[in-house]
Symmetry: C2
Subunit: 359 residues, 2 copies
């Protein structure tokens, strides 16, 4: 995590900034969910800002030693408890003053927060949401190992879903079983609301899981993800209950499209080319108008991060990125099908993190 700070500092120097205020990327920089903000000066050690009730947790979980807690009201303190009785923006202003920061970047904050901060401590404040995303795009070895673990948990969840799917069960039941499996395997929760979309729900790409029962001649799209130590995963499979020939063909088609796209994934490839590879196969089969979304996205702390893999994407794939490849086809009345895996891009070659070949 110290390396991230160093990289961030390099970026700050390049942009002529004295400090960075992270309000959204706190876990990435501090390694705890207890931080409300992290202040990274170009010189010196970072500061962790938290509320009084999260002070002990921040101290226990974060590698950052300088932890400063605020409380909106005065109250007696425990021995050794260091709390400043003020509003969060006042504490941030105090820290900026202490650092003598003239030019401050920040990832994202409410307009009102920045307005108050500026009134309390005059400096030039610049919103730079892209800066952290740029750093986060390339994963460290440690991050890849957490993502691999997260992907493994998702794979377990998918196997459980596969075993739970049967005519007469509800979408909700399948989701509940898969989620329990992931939780037991150490997931902090789901990286998004688990999708178990059968029949008429299967052709909605962003369906959830309902009380609807699974029936014969239906496609069932299962899209799920775990969170492991803050790192998300994302995986989709499409199952079929006594499918018609056309439904069976649809699944084969997304699988072929995915395979073709994965074939293009490599260090230096254009993201739009990966998308194109999948889209060409789908178009050739006559389903172009049924494929409304891009072919994938980056995965990390958030389940949707840059780079995007769509016809209008401008990104280049690089060593250290972890992305999904997930072509989807959604045909009203026939059904929807999507097939998604997470892929780690190495200097040479790739590695699929969500392998479940038996399904």
């Amino acid at each position: 995590m110290r390396k991230r700070i160093e990289k961030l500092k390099d970026e700050l120097v390049k942009r002529g900034l004295d400090a960075f205020l992270a309000v959204q990327n706190t876990r990435y920089l501090a390694g705890t969910t207890a931080a409300k903000a992290v202040i990274v000066p170009t010189e010196g050690s970072p500061l962790l800002i938290c509320s009084r009730l999260e002070f002990d947790q921040a101290k226990r979980e974060s590698w950052i030693r300088d932890v400063r807690a605020f409380s909106g009201w005065k109250a007696p303190l425990r021995r050794g408890e260091r709390v400043i009785f003020c509003k969060p923006w006042q504490l941030v202003a105090n820290c900026m003053q202490e650092l003598d920061a003239q030019a401050v970047g920040y990832d994202h904050a409410r307009r009102e927060f920045i307005r108050k901060l500026r009134a309390a401590y005059t400096a030039s404040y610049r919103e730079l949401p892209e800066l952290m995303l740029k750093l986060r795009k390339i994963k460290s070895r440690e991050e890849v190992s957490l993502l691999r673990r997260s992907a493994k948990i998702a794979t377990k969840g998918m196997r459980c879903a596969a075993e739970s799917i049967a005519v007469g069960r509800t979408e909700l039941e399948v989701a509940a079983e898969a989620e329990r499996e992931m939780r037991m395997a150490g997931s902090e929760g789901t990286s998004f609301p688990t999708i178990v979309a059968s029949g008429r729900n299967s052709w909605l790409p962003h369906a959830s899981a309902t009380r609807k029962r699974l029936r014969r001649w239906e496609l069932v799209v299962v899209d799920l993800g775990a969170i492991y130590n803050g790192y998300t995963s994302d995986m989709t499979r499409t199952f079929a209950l006594s499918p018609t020939k056309k439904q069976f063909t649809l699944i084969g088609l997304v699988r072929r499209a995915q395979k073709a796209a994965i074939g293009r994934v490599r260090n230096g490839a254009k993201t739009s080319d990966v998308d194109k590879a999948a889209r060409e196969i789908i178009s050739r089969a006559g389903y172009a108008k049924f494929s409304p979304h891009g072919t994938g996205h980056g995965v990390g702390i958030e389940v949707h991060e840059p780079p995007g893999l769509a016809p209008d994407s401008k990104d280049i794939l690089c060593e250290g990125m972890v992305i999904t490849v997930e072509p989807g086809i959604y045909v009203p009345r026939l059904g929807g099908a999507r097939w998604e895996d997470m892929i780690f891009i190495k200097a040479r070659g790739t590695r699929i993190l969500t392998s479940l070949e038996e399904i």
Copy 2:
């Protein structure tokens, strides 16, 4: 949901605005998770903005009839599919132009988004995050019924957690069982990462659930919540495994503090008085410095909404609010204890939504 729109329109007229752009409160206004934005003009019907892949879902789920979809790239369309090939801010700009809106309020959006929107369509744009929160503070009958259902699911989860707690089980296992129970009962997920905090984790108010095993002489704080049709719940109980006398006393104390605070909850009461009632009992027992957080908060679409119940709160409780009352005491080495219920405030009297008296 039409009533909400009418109330919002009244607020717009009061503030001299022609339209409101909701980016965060989309589900509240549109009744679907598929909307990326909702535009409410002071005159005429609201518009729902979504991405192409969510068009069908928005049409199926929302009461808003005017659904407009965007797609960042050109692609063939299905018969009947209406999509505008542009960026989201371009579509919003087009709609504002069509409405001839001169003064536009919005709940929250990235600075960059508003900058682009302003460049595409000149108008006065004002960030008004408080406006929607003000409306959301008072719940309609329909909302209270959803919150009641959500609270009932949380109660089921808590009962399941109570049954799962035993020496030797992990915090994670207890969380997994409780979450599965809530999911099976129709929850969309958890309203926050379930807390099962035992022993040394119990005195961290915002702990999560880890692989740590439950042991004797430990307090176990379980804090969980469901989501039902978008409405969250929040409930805490503290369990004890062969507690010491002091630990037992601690639980009794938070329960008494909670009872005293609930005794003050009524239409017209000051939120700070409710907090004070709990704090006085805790202080008298000599634990003032171990009670670092406020006594409660509003619950609705978000699990933490206004009003806050803390020493520095200025709110007045009103008919139609749903709040939590949750005093907590966290004593290093001894253990943490918190007791939380959801309460609906009626014109006369209150109703506890998370009743589980047998635990």
